[in-house]
Amino acid sequence: MNTKSIFSAALIVAALAATPALAQDSGTLKKIKDSGSATMGVRESSGGLSFTLGDGKFAGFHVDLCERVLADIRKQLGMSQMNIKFQPVTSQNRIPLMQNGTIDIECGSTTNNAARQKDVAFAVTTFVEEVRIAVKANSGITSIGQLNGRNVATTTGTTSVQLLRKHERANGVDFKEVFGKDHADSFLLLESGRADAFVMDSQILAGLIAKSKTPGDYKIVGEILNVEPINIMMRKDDPAFKKAVDDSLIKLMKSGEIAKIYDKWFMQPIPPANVRIGLPASEATRAAWANPNDKPAEDYAKK
């Protein structure tokens, strides 16, 4: 490689770095009205919150809520019809895709924390996740204290990995961590006995157990290790759009409708396999519905 090509490569990199994020002055409401469509960021597999039905169709608690929110926005904007597009996102690309305007509203399983609030905005909290432990029912494990020196599975690329590390540091315990490449893989580690416990969001654990070959062999035990608000995500600095989304959600919370929607996705059998997750709304989730707010995870940890 000669100096010239290195130099031009450096120029390209510099040019890419200098390109500002897409201008956001127009606002999402205007964008939706002008284009007649809204793009919803969705997840392929986020438990009952957001998942694919195949064929480019998506469903789940948050997808359901977003569809209702967008219907309200359509009325508010006086549009006769609105074309709702689905864009599958991952935990790696959801924030960049929101910032560059590819998606207008993300209805997945994004934790609302202070670091992310610098980049994006969140609607009022609609779901509060509790991190817990799944074990084999006959293992006799009932608390995280019993896991010292044992194999603990969790999934790469989740906040649970950091949570375990902090727990080890704070309590002077030592877990042998095994990382699954995705949730199904982590569950396989528990199933095959390579791990004694699987630490993860309880709605994901409940979903995996429900779908396993023998759901009776597993149970969710122990203390709540962490509480995190999971919110619908929007672009930052767009108060008109945030207000429209929040108003619509608060209306569902005040009327009690949100509890029925929750019931539909977490307590009733859901497609595609028609199994029921069986996770009643937690205390914290119901508290968030009673007092709508968009506080980040850090505020929950203080309590």
């Binding site: 770095a17 200098a18 906040t159 990995v161 095994v178 990382f179 699954g180």
Partner: protein
């Protein structure tokens, strides 16, 4: 995103505070410490796998050129078995499926399983190169060696292999660089290497672009270092006038 934040590498992995020296102390580590240790795992997986791949690949490649039909079949079967199954599937077979058939494998560290999987996968490719290298030599070479009284092993040791290996250094270089990049599949079986670090650290720091750029640079440096080492070896062992190996 135009606003880089390279400080992310100096953050403590427990509380996310920036450490002034960029390296942790007293049991705490920063993301930079973690990335360097992940680099070590990547290098370890790649180098051990390369050793396994060279040993088995050379052996199987040689078997495929011998006069014995049984040995040729063994070498061919080995090569086809390991190169026709996707690498990630092989890793999963070693990690999840074989231990259910052979319970003793459950206690084998996943590092060894991944070295076996990646090493044997690559051995199939090296076996093909070794075979091609030997068969590229004129048949008269081995006939002449046998005619002057060399045994078959001596023919390989003193006549065929010294030339064949010189010829296949360029494809072996590519293969050695590939093994560094392929080692990224080790994240799937819980080896704390660069890809696992990238997936995890970008989630924790929300600074994916900086993290991925750092990891990319380390992969590049590792692969390029292997390229330079093999290039050096290629020049050191070249025999002037020998086919293909000379160059100039």
């Amino acid at each position: 995103m135009a606003n880089w934040d390279w400080q992310v590498f100096c953050k403590n992995t427990i509380d996310g505070e920036v450490v002034s020296s960029c390296f942790g102390s007293g049991g705490d580590i920063t993301y930079l410490d973690w990335m360097l240790s992940a680099w070590g795992w990547t290098a370890a997986v790649a180098l051990f796998s390369l050793a396994v791949a060279l040993v088995f690949g050379s052996l199987m490649g040689i078997l495929r050129t011998t006069p014995s039909r049984g040995l040729v079949f063994l070498g061919n079967a080995w090569t086809e078995l390991f190169r026709n199954i996707p690498l990630l599937v092989q890793i999963m077979l070693w990690y999840h499926v074989l231990p259910t058939l052979i319970p003793a494998l459950k206690d084998v560290p996943s590092f060894l399983l991944v070295v076996a999987a990646l090493g044997l996968f690559t051995s199939a490719r090296i076996s093909e190169q070794v075979r091609a290298g030997i068969q590229s030599l004129p048949r008269g070479q081995s006939m002449a060696a046998l005619a002057i009284g060399f045994t078959l092993p001596q023919t390989y040791r003193y006549v065929l292999l010294p030339m064949a290996f010189r010829i296949i250094i360029p494809p072996l270089t590519s293969e050695s660089m590939n093994i560094v990049k392929n080692s990224s599949v080790a994240f799937a079986v819980s080896i704390s290497e660069l890809t696992l670090f990238a997936l995890q650290a970008q989630e924790e720091t929300s600074r994916g672009i900086e993290i991925y750029l750092g990891v990319t640079a380390l992969y590049f440096i590792t692969a390029f270092a292997i390229n330079r080492v093999l290039h050096f070896i290629e020049q050191r062992v070249q025999v002037p006038g020998l086919i293909a190996a000379g160059g100039k």
